[in-house]
Amino acid sequence: MIWNDSYECMSRDELHRLQSSRLHDTVERVYANSPFYRRKLQELSLCPEDIQTVEDIVKLPFTVKTDLRDNYPFGLFSAPMSEIVRLHASSGTTGKPIVAGYTRKDLANWSEILARTFTAGGCGQSDIFHIAFGYGLFTGGLGAHSGAERIGASVIPISTGNTEKQIQLMTDFGSTVLCCTPSYALYLAETIEKMGVGGKLRLRVGFFGAEPWTEAMRREIEEKLHIRAYDIYGLTEVCGPGVSYNCSEQNGMHINEDMFLPEIVNPQTLLPVAPGEIGELVFTTICKEGMPVLRYRTKDLTRLVYEPCPCGRTNVRMEKIKGRSDDMLIIRGVNVFPTQVESVLLEFPEIAPHYHIFVDRVNNTDTFEIKVEMRPECFSGSVGHVLDLTKRITHRLQSVLGISPQVRLVEPNAIGRSTGKARHVTDRRTIY
C-alpha cells in the first residue's frame, strides 16, 4: 500500500527536476537566514545562483555533528523562533545535546513521511499503534505518533519503561502495531513469554529503528513476536524517524528523496563513491524550514540501490546500516563491527540474542572478549556441550571477523537489557 504515489512513484526525471529546484531554494533560504551557512558558503565563494541542479551539490560544504554542538542551541536554525513550534534534542553523552527546530510545515512534512512509512507496512485506520519509543525530547516517540495519527490509526502513546504494564495494556487494548527499538522488542518478547500472554496478543506488524540491527535480528523478532518487522531510519539532525522506510519487500529502505537528498561518500576523502559502493551516508534536506542541513554526515555506513523495486516506488533505497563509522572497532589492527558479531551469534539457536563486547589492552596487546547468554532451555547439563558450543562460536567468529575473540557463556539475563538503544561495546582502551 502506498500513501502518496505522486511522490513515492514519481518518474526519476520529474524527481530530478523537483530536487534541483528544492535544493536551490534551500541554499537560498540558508544563505539568507543562517549566519552559520552564509559564512560557510562565502568562505567557498559560493552563492545560491551557483546551485541550480542536484549535481551542484558537490560544491556545497559538509555539515558535521560538532557544527551543531558548537552552535548550540539554535545556531543552525533558518527561521525565527516565532516560527519554530517544536524543539527536539538528542541525548549528548559527551558535550551538549543536538537540538533541532521545526516549523509548522516541517511538522506536517514529518507526519507525511511517517504516514508513508506506516502505510508501506500495510497499516491504516483500523490499526492500534503501541508506540514504545521514548516520548519527550527524543524524536522517536512524537515522530511515530504524528505519523500514526495521520493515517487515522488509534495511537497509544505509551513511551518506554514499565514493561509488564505495557504488555498488560497491549493485551487489553488489542494493539496491532508495535514501534520501538529492536533491543526493546526483544526485551518485550522475553517478558511476554515469561508472563505467558503470547496467545492473547493481536500484534501483526512492528516498526523498529534508532539503532543498527541485522537481518538475523529481524528474523528473531519476527519469530518471537509473530509479526512482520519493518526497518525505519532517521536521525534528529536531518528530521527524526521517517527519512527512509522498508516496503513490503523488506529489502532496503526507500529514502524520501523528494525531501532528503542522499549521497554516499568515502569517509576519508569525502568524495562520492562509485555507484553501489559502501560509504558514509550524507543527507541534504530540501524541504525543511526550521533547521535545513546541507550535506550532513551521518557517520552511518551503507550503500544506495537504484534498481527498481517490485513495490512500484521509484525513490532510491538504502541498505540496512552496516554500522556507524564510529561503532567500528579496530582490534589488533582488524576492523570489527558489532553488527558482524551479532549476525554470527544469531546463527546459534543455543544462545540468546543478547551479547556484550569488551575490549581492553593488556601487555600492549588488544584483548577482545564477547559475553553471550545461554538459553535456559538449551542447557543440556554437560560440561562438554558447553565447551563445545563455546568453541564452535569462537571458530565461526574467527572465520567471519578475521580475529579470534574470547567467548564467554554467561547465565540467562546476565547481560543487561535495554529499553532504548542498546550499548553493545565497552572499550576500556579509550581511557588510556
Partner: protein, 131 residues
C-alpha cells in the same frame, strides 16, 4: 540401586552465584542430599540431588537459572574397600562409559551417583549383578 533425578545448573564463575542458588533453594524449603560441582575456567555446573526435583527445577527456572533435570543411577551398598573398583570393572567389561560420578558415605552405607553413557544398559547390567 535406583534411578534418581538430578538437577544440573549452569553457573558463571562470579562471586556469590553459588550463594544465590543455595539461598533460593533454602528459602523454598528444598533440601539438598548430595551435590558436586564440575568447574572450568569460566563457568561451573552444579549437580544437585534434592528432595523435590521437579519443584526445584520450576523454581530455579523462574528465578532465571539455566537448569536441567536428568536421571542418575544410585548404587547403595555397604561401604567397603574395593566396592567402587568392582563396579567400575563391571562397567568396563560391559563397555559402559561413565560420564561423571560422585559419591559419599553415611552410616556405613556408600552411595555412588553415576551418570553412564547408556542409562538403560547400565541399569540392566547392575540388576543382573545384584547391585
Amino acid at each position: 540401586m535406583e534411578t534418581i533425578r538430578q538437577l544440573s545448573i549452569f553457573l558463571e564463575n562470579r562471586t556469590g552465584r553459588l550463594a544465590d542458588l543455595t539461598r533460593v533453594l533454602g528459602e523454598a524449603g528444598i533440601n539438598m542430599t548430595a551435590f558436586s560441582i564440575a568447574e572450568s575456567s569460566d563457568f561451573g555446573i552444579m549437580r544437585i540431588v534434592v528432595t523435590e526435583p521437579e519443584k526445584a527445577q520450576k523454581l530455579l527456572l523462574d528465578k532465571g537459572f539455566a537448569v536441567t533435570l536428568s536421571d542418575l543411577i544410585c548404587v547403595r551398598e555397604d561401604s567397603r574397600p574395593g566396592l567402587l573398583g568392582e563396579v567400575l570393572k563391571l562397567f568396563s567389561r560391559e563397555n559402559i562409559a561413565v560420564e561423571y560420578m560422585y559419591a559419599f558415605e553415611a552410616d556405613g552405607q556408600a552411595s555412588l551417583m553415576i551418570c553412564p553413557d547408556n542409562l538403560e544398559k547400565c541399569l540392566s547390567i547392575l540388576k543382573d549383578n545384584q547391585l
